[in-house]
């Protein structure tokens, strides 16, 4: 069943695959992943695009209140590069978070007043405070965390999972993507299809975007004047003619194509069924918040994500834009948090309620954090924070990750990793590991190299956080 399923959805690539990879794709005996028993069967990645401020949301330390207004010591900055946006600044005054922080749950995790719902589930989360990346601007940073390299052309995390593990649902793609625009900064930084692209992997593994409206998948709806029975009859005719052609020529592609048209037909039912929220009870909407009723919002996407995970989609990735608070930190960050806090927490709780959290890995994070120093004059109403890749916070839940812990720490200024550093490639190695995949052995030959998600440099699984 599994083999047939993958064959039907992923199709067959004649151009880019060797015999071994082909058999892997079709779920044959040579399938190499998982390498070991997985802890998680699926992933939901709540990607916060633009660079959420770790300082104002999670990475709190009381001493920062005392440092407020002081010049960030040169010894802390370490002379490393900053973006062209603040490189010309003569002063780098520390801006303590203008928000209240409290410790929550038995774990005592610090969480900002902007994230009250997340605070309530703190004991379910694992905070990684020492995540870091090499890039200092959006495009290279978001490309790195999603594909393992700053340069375009590589395959995204989700496409690797689709390639390696296929789908558990015969009627849905294995990797689905949902986009939303935040109310903090509008428009937020742009997104790129390469973030869920397949790079050198066969294109059938790229993320399929699900969009609000009548065509959740592009071109899903029949044209006007064509109803389901007319379509069914046309497909039967098509199968007859394609079957004849396959018989006459021996062309295996013609046979596969019959299967693909059947799958397309099934998607015309399965996708609307997936996106139809009318059957969700009232308490679910109160759990996810009022936005969950508005198609295309982050909240609605979180609810959709849960429905996808229930149906066995391998990877669901949300991209929420607007986390780029160079300016107007106070106003924008409140708005971004309001968009996302309740639904993110609701998704975790909902998965736990359904017994799915155990084998679903939830990841929340962006491409980098933000500087402790003020961009613009300290205290000016329009001031904010610049990009900061040297440390930022990501949280994970479920999927075999220890709940209620914090891994890693930053220095007093939240500027450098003090302990427990996790490079973004280590993060990806850890995600793969939870899916039963050894990132070093999970390769695809292209351009003379055995390509892998985590690149050529050494990466490590963060074993300290594994349950």
């Amino acid at each position: 069943m599994m083999g047939l399923t993958r064959r039907a959805f992923l199709g067959r690539s004649a151009g880019g695959l060797g015999a071994m990879a082909l058999s892997r794709l079709l779920g044959g005996d040579e399938s190499v992943v998982p390498h070991f028993a997985p802890k998680a069967k699926r992933v939901v990645y709540l990607f916060q695009s633009g660079g959420p401020s770790h300082i104002d949301l999670f990475d709190y330390k009381p001493v920062m209140r005392e440092l407020h207004g002081q010049e960030l010591p040169a010894s802390v900055r370490g002379g490393q590069r900053v973006t062209g946006m603040t490189a010309g600044q003569k002063s780098f005054p520390v801006l303590a978070p203008p928000f209240e922080f409290k410790q929550h749950g038995e774990s005592g995790a610090w969480v900002s007043e902007l994230m009250p719902w997340t605070a309530r589930i703190a004991d379910k989360l694992c905070f990684l405070k020492g995540v870091h990346t090499d890039a200092i601007n959006h495009d290279p940073a978001i490309t790195t965390i999603n594909t393992g390299a700053m340069q375009p052309g590589k395959a995204s995390l989700g496409s690797w999972l689709s390639y390696g593990l296929g789908s558990e649902n015969r009627d849905l793609p294995s990797y689905l993507v949902l986009l939303s625009q935040g109310t903090g900064k509008d428009p937020g930084q742009p997104l790129f299809s390469r973030l869920w692209g397949s790079g050198f992997l066969p294109p059938s593994h790229q993320g399929v975007q699900l969009r609000p409206g009548a065509n959740p998948v592009l071109y899903l709806q029949n044209p006007p004047g064509v109803d389901a029975s007319t379509r069914r009859a046309l497909l039967d005719d098509l199968a007859k003619l394609n079957g004849r052609h396959a018989d006459a020529t021996g062309d295996p592609e013609a046979r596969t194509r019959i299967d693909q048209y059947e799958m397309a037909f099934r998607m015309q039912t399965s996708v609307p069924d997936l996106t139809d929220l009318s059957t969700e009870p009232e308490e679910v909407f109160s759990l996810y918040g009022p936005d969950a009723r508005k198609p295309g919002t982050y909240a609605a996407n979180c609810l959709l994500a849960r429905r996808m995970l229930e149906r066995g989609v391998r990877m669901v990735q949300l991209f929420h834009r607007g986390w780029d608070q160079h300016l107007n930190l106070d106003r924008e960050l409140r708005a971004q948090s309001l968009d996302t806090d309740q639904p993110s927490a609701a998704l975790v709780s909902d998965l736990a309620r359904l017994g799915l959290l155990e084998d679903t890995l939830v990841v929340w994070g962006g491409e980098f954090g933000r500087t402790v120093y003020s961009q613009g004059k300290l205290g000016a109403p329009g001031s904010g924070r610049d990009h900061h890749g040297r440390c930022f916070t990501v949280w994970m839940a479920g999927g075999g990750i220890k709940p209620g812990i914090t891994h890693g720490a930053t220095d007093d200024w939240s500027y450098n990793v003090a302990e427990g550093g996790v490079h973004v490639n280590d993060l990806n190695a850890t995600i793969l590991h939870q899916l039963g995949i050894d990132h070093e052995r999970f390769t695809y030959p292209y351009l003379g190299l055995d390509q892998r998600l985590t690149g050529v440099e050494e990466s490590r699984v963060v074993r300290e956080i594994l349950a």
């Binding site: 199709g11 880019g16 299809s193 066969p202 592009l218 005719d237 003379g448």
Partner: protein, 984 residues
Amino acid sequence: MFIACVLLQLSGTSPDGLDFSRDVRPVLAKHCFECHGPDAAARKGDLRLDLEEDVVRDRGGYSVVDREAPAESELLSRIHGGDAFFDAMPPEGEPALSDEELRVLERWVAEGAPWGEHWAFRPPVQSSLGGESGSVAIDLLVQERLRAEGLEAAPAASRSTLLRRVTLDLTGLPPTPEEIRTFLADDSPAAYEGVVDRLLASPRFGERMALQWLDVARYADTNGYSIDGGRHMWAWRDWVIDAFNANMPFDQFTVEQLAGDLLPDATVSSRIASGFNRNHMNTHEGGTIEEEYLVEYAADRVATTSQAWLGLTMGCARCHDHKYDPISQREYYQFFAYFNSITDRGNDGDGGKNSVPFIPVFSEEQGRRLEAFERERAEVLGFLDEMTPARAGRLEAWAESEARRAGSRPAPVLSPWSVAGPFRAESGEEAFRVNFGPEPGPVGQAKVEPDGGASEIAWVIREDLTDGVPHALPGVKASTYLKRAVECEEAGPLQLSFGSDDAIRAWWNGVLILDANVRRGVQPHQERVRVVAQQGRNELLVKIVNDSGPGGVFFELESSGPPVEVRRALAVEASARNEEQHLRLAAYHGSIDPALAEVRAELDLLRQEIDAIEQRPETTAMVMEERAMRRPAHVLMRGVYDQKGEEVQPGTPAALPPLPADARPDRLGLARWLVDPGHPLTARVAVNSYWQLLFGTGLVETPEDFGVRGSMPSHPELLDWLAVDFVGSGWDVKAMLRQMVLSETYKQDAAVGPELLARDPENRLLARGPRFRLQAEIIRDVALSASGLLSPLIGGPSGRPYQPDGLWREMSHYGSTPATEQIYVQDHGEGLYRRGMYTIWKRTVPPPILAAFDAPSREVCVVRRSRTNTPLQALVLLNETGFVEASRALAQRVLLGSSGADEARIAELYLLTVGREPAAGELEVVAALLERERARFAARPGDAEALISVGESPRAESLGAAEHAAWTLAAALMLNLSETVTRG
């Protein structure tokens, strides 16, 4: 009979013979080179298994491979698990050798470990084949392999199949019913050859060939990084189409694209061609460190150029020596040095404008008008040359008086430059606008921290800023002022010449004489200005505004008074002047003679007309242009832009043929080296790409990698034969394709039985004809062509066909200016029906229809596309507005075009889509569909009306709605057939 005789003379390895290059090196490369290969930094145990001498050398009593006593070879011990002293290889944790790989190594050692250079680095050798050539030679070499495999070639495909195949291959369009009928009716032996020649001569040929090249060249309509703003490179795309249509020899095709700007006789066309290496992505993200991206751009040029022409993965040597191929990191940066000193910017191209450097490109109409004005100007100039007696008199008088003064006109004396600044602003725009103090007029204030005001200006004398050469200036988003005194003993004209990086303004005695708000690299003589000097002290003030990257300035005082040649002529006794001197004096006098003022005024008017056109070119094209001051290239540690190691000069890898001793150290030298007839890779890579185009897979299955990790050619002798033939033909692309499609190999039937399919699923042996799914753009073209909607327009700006609402907006930085391509604005009319290759290509959101059929994003060079088969493709063909519209237009076409019975119309549908007559069983299916849908649509006229209203093209109101709708579904059935989207 004849073939058999020739084959007997062919010698080659038997299928069982072990070939080092084919069988052994790939195993060593796969399992051993990572630690025992070309990468010096990663090397362990002081052992290189890629070098023969290192493998056999005596290591103090033993050697890795012992040719005298093979059984003693250390290699054997290691691959069999090692011993008490030495570990097994490959080490634990690394992939183990398969049994087959073990056997290969054992046998190789036992046979005395024969060695051989990697096949692709040896020059190709052409088998004589008993003097056979062309398509016959191809067939001989394919059949030799079939014979060795015990297989037979398939019979020829049916004539209709063959016609569709070759028409799609060479033009990307299906044959028309007319062409099919003509061909089927012509049973002369030359009929097929005639078709091939017709197709090669069709302008559609150039489009089809360009289509393949656009992926290689990563051509797109947007910049790719960050907000992915718009750019304009279609002039380059059209150059490619024209080059293929004109059958430009491949060596010229190569040289113009890699170095068209450096040719001694560079033209607008060859400069446009050089844009090949400007097609890479570029960024305009705020906060970008320019140096970092300049390195990325040069790295992209290296990766693309090496893949496209050499079939080598040079990009792998950016951070360390190549793991498998003989390319060191140092050699990588030598290659990089060819592409590293361009006047481009790390952060540029915002606002929908091309990034520098670019050139204007004029439309044909503009070109004609320019030519007319230039002609008129030449006429007026001719009048200026005419020597009337009156004018001769004035000339003589002037020359006499001027000669008397000669020698008494001393050259002006220039003080050294005094420099102030740089003064920073928030942007280059602002720096240009604001007067930081030195300029005439009110002093302004830039919005940044006050770096200076009029009172604080400190002028520094800079003797080092010499005239006649460009100099670097510091400061980004900043203005620098330069001033100097020019002492003249008497009043008279001066010619000043300037260059700048970026914008420049200049004042002569307080009067603005130059005002150019440009972004560019500094070059000598970018602007020339004539001024009139007053006697005594004159003041020259220059303001240079650098927006980003390095800044720079150039200045030269070109002349004062009459040019030096004129002064020399004047110095000669009037009677002793020769013809040339007379002409020179006359010409100069013409430019100052007060009596000719009106003529000169007319010339000025013409100049204005010409300027008016030149300031509004139809488009611009990004080009390559070398910096005046060479930007040094360094080895970059781990490939990181600011980790500079040793400085390197341009050069090519030592494993490839050496550059000629007199080779230019620039891209032109590199391009000429690539197309040297003795080069082992260029011709092989090129003919392989043509083979791939026609057969679906190259003779080398990995066109992107001809190195040791790439796949071996399926038919090495054939690849070599074609490569040598290609060079010998003068790199004649059409001739190469012609002989390929004329071969019996190409013409074979593609049908396959289960036995052969199991044995050779990818058709590497060519015991049948090639069959593969059409590429994305061609699937669209087939539908548009069959329906009659296809626009015949070749080239020009890209079209914007139907696209689901909001597709760009949900990912883009909407709100920016329209030119930045953040919001999709669909075309109406012809723009909806252009060939797939003209669909606007936004890199971060590639055209959804094409992406569904495996089109790449065009972010990086791609030399072969995948071919998947997915349900999303079915949804496109069934439901996308353009395809549904094509169905109804196709229905209309057969309803209006052929009269009478359904059978005739169904037959026409078949001809239009799959290029053949339907079989009886097929007719029945379509006829039954028609009957069923006629009834349904008759009962539900609203549905019929809705279906035949899809799309913006007008429909024939004369057709009954139900009838038209039923036929629309029949047409949709045809457009969705596997056979329609496949070329069999």
